[in-house]
């Protein structure tokens, strides 16, 4: 990412050295990256399918990648960082690869770690790398209602901070509305060059939510809706810029940089639960195709099954978490009501000390209500939204698999067309019609080229899918981990405050006489 040269497209597997281990990014000379493609780990998928057990984790490369795990804020330098993952590509120069062993205790063998850079924990390691990183920071903030009535919309400020040369400046921002985000997704998913990539899906449209906002942005449910959307849009963008290919895409750059964007018009397809509907429809179309793909590589079948199962489980989990959120909100209400009732009882009480204690109890319960309120927020914004994001992302993953199948089908169809052309040529030879023969030969050449092309496309998309899935899984693990840590830490703080509240109350109770 630090390279000033144009990035090379992912090389074909054939041209790849079967290099299992890849150098780590953030050694001191990350400036020396050659702008080569980070996805050199193309070698990885093939080695996996060959069943060769790799001692090294080349995908360590992606380990430092993204800030996708942080909703609601731009990531700070201390956290898992992004581009250094792509910064140093020494697959072309295996000789000077400084293979850093990123594992701490899991002991991935045979990695030469520069002694000076032997970290004691992953965080330390990441901090060091952070200092060398060339990054893209995006944030979505300042939702503002523009206009009035039913034509009103909310404009968000999209701020970017970057040191990458592909951008015109280092710090800039633009105002975007929701349909702009959807439009970006539409453009990206239509691109042939990005086929097989897991393109992060945007949050869903919500007619109900938006109507309330159009009417007025002040009531708590509208505020919550806008905040939910803002956070989701931020995560969406963060995931996009975390993806090395997408970051290079001109449409993405335009989205971040341009003052004005032409209105995206065709976003109806993405309304409501539209996104997943779209994916599912595509899946159905694929499964209805007559030529069933004969899978030479079970990796894809197995993976697809996994993704499907996982999506179902996350849905189930999300349903329970939603229930948790609503129960906690109920608890808030009930606690507040109880606190008031306690206060009244305290007033009624004729024993002075007891009366004071009961009033204090009422205050403690009030504080508890606030705690529960915050906890409900955490449950929702950290936990539930994480699950919702990944359910959508898994849908996108399924989409890639389908794209691969379609690529295969296109190749097969081209092959059968070629076959037909050859048969036609043979017929012409036998019938001895030299003029038509020429045309037939030309057509055969044309289709031979197509077959070769489509086969290449298919292989390439297969590589892309494999690579993307592995990257995705890393991302997912990191994301979940950091979100869960956040969730637990929020809970921890809440419980610590709880202890303080009750410890303050105890002497009051003891003072009753």
């Amino acid at each position: 990412m630090a390279s000033s040269s144009e990035r090379n497209p992912p090389p074909f597997p054939a041209s790849e050295k079967p290099e299992p281990g890849l150098s780590d990014m953030a050694d001191g000379d990350s400036d020396s990256d050659e702008g080569a493609d980070i996805f050199v780990s193309n070698s990885l998928p093939t080695s996996v399918s060959r069943g060769v057990s790799q001692p090294e984790e080349p995908a360590d490369l992606f380990g430092q990648e993204t800030p996708t795990a942080k909703p609601n804020r731009v990531y700070s330098d201390d956290d898992d960082l992004f581009a250094e993952a792509q910064a140093d590509l020494s697959s072309d120069t295996p000789g000077n690869s400084a293979r850093k062993d990123l594992s701490t205790s899991s002991g991935l063998p045979s990695a030469r770690s520069p002694a000076a850079l032997q970290p004691t924990s992953l965080e330390q390691l990441e901090e060091e790398e952070a200092k060398d990183c060339f990054d893209v920071d995006v944030a979505v903030t300042n939702p503002e209602k523009v206009g009035d009535g039913m034509n009103a919309y909310v404009a968000y400020k999209v701020s970017t901070r970057t040191s990458l040369p592909i951008f015109k400046s280092k710090v800039f921002s633009a105002r975007r509305r929701f349909s702009d985000f959807l439009g970006l997704y539409e453009k990206l998913s239509a691109k042939q060059s990005l086929h097989g990539c897991i393109i992060p899906p945007p949050p869903e449209k919500s007619v109900v939510g938006m109507t309330k906002v159009k009417v007025g942005m002040d009531d708590p449910s509208s505020v919550e809706f806008v905040e939910k959307r803002r956070a989701a849009l931020e995560r969406y963008l963060q995931r996009i810029v975390a993806h090395p290919l997408l970051l290079q895409d001109p449409d993405v750059r335009d989205f971040l940089e341009r003052e004005d964007l032409p209105r995206a018009v065709n976003t109806q397809a993405l309304s409501g639960a539209g996104f997943l509907k779209m994916i599912n429809r595509a899946s159905d179309a694929v499964s209805k195709m007559t030529i069933k793909m004969n899978e030479s590589d079970t990796w894809f079948e197995d993976k697809f099954q996994e993704v499907d199962t996982e999506e179902q489980q996350l849905r189930k989990l999300l349903a329970v978490v939603d229930s948790l959120v609503s129960h906690r909100k109920e608890l808030c209400v009930n606690t507040a009501v109880f606190a008031k009732s306690m206060a009244m009882l305290g007033n009624s009480e004729d024993n002075t000390a007891l009366s004071r204690a009961l009033s204090q109890l009422a205050e403690v319960e009030d504080k508890m209500e606030q705690l529960h309120q915050e906890q409900a927020g955490t449950d929702f914004f950290i936990f539930a939204e994480l699950l919702a994001d990944y359910i959508r992302l898994l849908g996108a993953v399924r989409g890639c698999f389908d794209q691969r199948v379609r690529a295969w089908q296109r190749w097969q169809e081209a092959q059968s067309t070629l076959q037909k052309k050859r048969e036609a040529e043979a017929k012409l030879l036998w019938a001895n019609k030299p003029d038509k023969l020429q045309q037939a030969k030309e057509e055969i050449n044309e289709w031979e080229a197509k077959v070769t092309q489509y086969e290449r496309d298919f292989d390439r998309i297969g590589m892309t899918v494999r690579r993307e899935v592995l990257r995705f899984e890393k991302e997912k693990a990191k994301d979940f981990k950091s979100q869960i840590i956040k969730y637990l830490e929020a809970m921890l703080q809440s419980q610590q405050r709880l202890v303080k509240f009750w410890e303050a109350f105890l002497p009051e109770a003891k003072a009753i006489a």
Partner: protein, 405 residues
């Protein structure tokens, strides 16, 4: 169990009559309590004995005491409520119906949770019956009641007696006058400041505590719901983790399985945390239930008993006033004057005796209430602190585990 018995406090510390319920059996719908008595009093045949009793026996005893004229000036301890297993039973039923929709682990966990709930209800009902008897045994007058002694000692089935009693007392008496309570009490022209204050206080306090009890119950139920949600979350996480280790996944993740970013490990830690949290939340719910809600509920009933006392006193006052009127009428007519004078004197006596007794009772009730509240609030605060500290160390452990991996 002894830690649960703090709703009522014995201010006398008299050990001549000690009662407890060490044991109880649940047979279908009926609960059989074993009432155990230890006494130094000679009025009893043995110093240490036990009898089996049902809930209806307790009610019989309570009603017998209420109907005893001599005790009109006393606060009769509120009758224990009927054992109510309806809640957990209904949930158990629902669980059975939904068994097919959940995994085996989830079902087992929910079942365990329900069994714990059932046990909690059980413990609660034992406690409340026990407290009733202990209130009686610590009361200077009521502890000597004949019916009370029969209840404690009679080693045959009490149900025969109970049936007779019902016929004797009618059973409808209590309910009939309940609604007239408040009107009568508030309508009385009070000459005694003490009773004036008590009346105002008790009527107001009763409505407030009734409200608080209801709100506390709702709050506790919310906690229970959350605890249940954690069970479901644990179960789902469990099945995700199980899925992660299926052979399929193992093949694909061969290289990743040793990777320290294994999602499985992360989720597993989270699962572990969740399982513990669910236990703790469940315990918080039940402890809160026992301490605060039970306290409020008990004193709501106790204040109702105090109100009943005020009512009886008000009735006695009305009787006295009526007897005055009758005396005036008799004097006017010149007939049955002696009779009327007698009646009037009796009414006054009764009223005075009742008032005196009531004053004592209400004063000691105040003291008892304050002490019980104090004890309960302290215990509740201590429990909350304990649970929260447990949570803190649990959470800290989980966070550390995740961060260092």
């Amino acid at each position: 169990m002894s830690s649960l018995r703090s709703v009522s406090v014995d201010l006398n510390n008299d050990t001549s009559l000690l009662i407890d319920i060490p044991d109880a059996l649940c047979e279908r719908d009926k609960v059989k309590f074993t009432v155990h008595t230890k006494t130094t009093l000679s009025t009893f045949q043995k110093p240490d004995f036990s009898v089996p009793r049902q809930h209806e026996d307790f009610i019989w005893l309570h009603d017998a005491l209420v109907e005893t004229e001599d005790y009109a000036g006393l606060i009769i301890p509120p009758a224990p409520p009927k054992p109510d297993f309806e809640g957990p039973r209904e949930k158990m039923h629902k669980l059975g119906e939904g068994e097919s929709t959940m995994t085996k682990e989830e079902y087992t966990k929910m079942k365990q949770e329900l069994e714990a709930e059932y046990l909690a209800v059980f413990k609660k009902t034992v406690q409340v019956h026990e407290v009733f008897l202990q209130r009686l045994s610590s009361h200077p007058v009521l502890s000597k009641d004949r019916n009370f002694q029969i209840f404690l000692e009679y080693d045959q089935d009490l149900s025969v007696r109970r049936k007779n009693a019902k016929e004797m007392f009618g059973g409808f008496f209590k309910n009939m006058v309940k609604s007239a309570d408040e009107v009568l009490i508030s309508g009385i022209k009070e000459v005694d400041d003490f009773f004036e204050q008590e009346k105002t206080f008790l009527l107001d306090y009763f409505s407030k505590i009734k409200d608080s009890t209801a709100k506390a119950e709702k709050m506790t139920r919310s906690h229970k719901n959350i605890a249940d949600d954690y069970i479901h979350i644990s179960a789902t996480l469990n099945s995700i983790c199980a899925e992660d280790s299926t052979p399929n996944k193992k093949r694909c993740n061969r290289n990743l399985s040793t990777h320290f970013w294994n999602l499985n490990l992360i989720l597993f830690s989270f699962l572990f945390f969740n399982a513990c949290l669910q236990k703790v939340e469940g315990r918080v719910a039940s402890d809160q239930e026992l301490k605060l809600t039970e306290l409020l509920r008990y004193y709501m009933r106790d204040i109702q008993a105090a109100k009943d006392l005020l009512y009886r006193r008000a009735r006695a006052l009305v009787d006295y006033e009526n007897s005055n009127k009758a005396l005036d009428k008799a004097r006017l007519k010149g007939k049955d004057i002696a009779q009327a004078e007698d009646h009037q004197r009796q009414c006054l006596q009764k009223f005075d005796k009742l008032s005196e007794s009531a004053k004592k009772e209400l004063t000691s009730f105040k003291g008892r209430r304050v002490v019980a509240f104090r004890k309960n609030l302290i215990e509740m605060a201590e429990l909350e602190i304990k649970h929260a500290k447990n949570n803190v160390s649990l959470l800290q452990g989980c966070v550390d585990l995740l961060k260092t991996n």
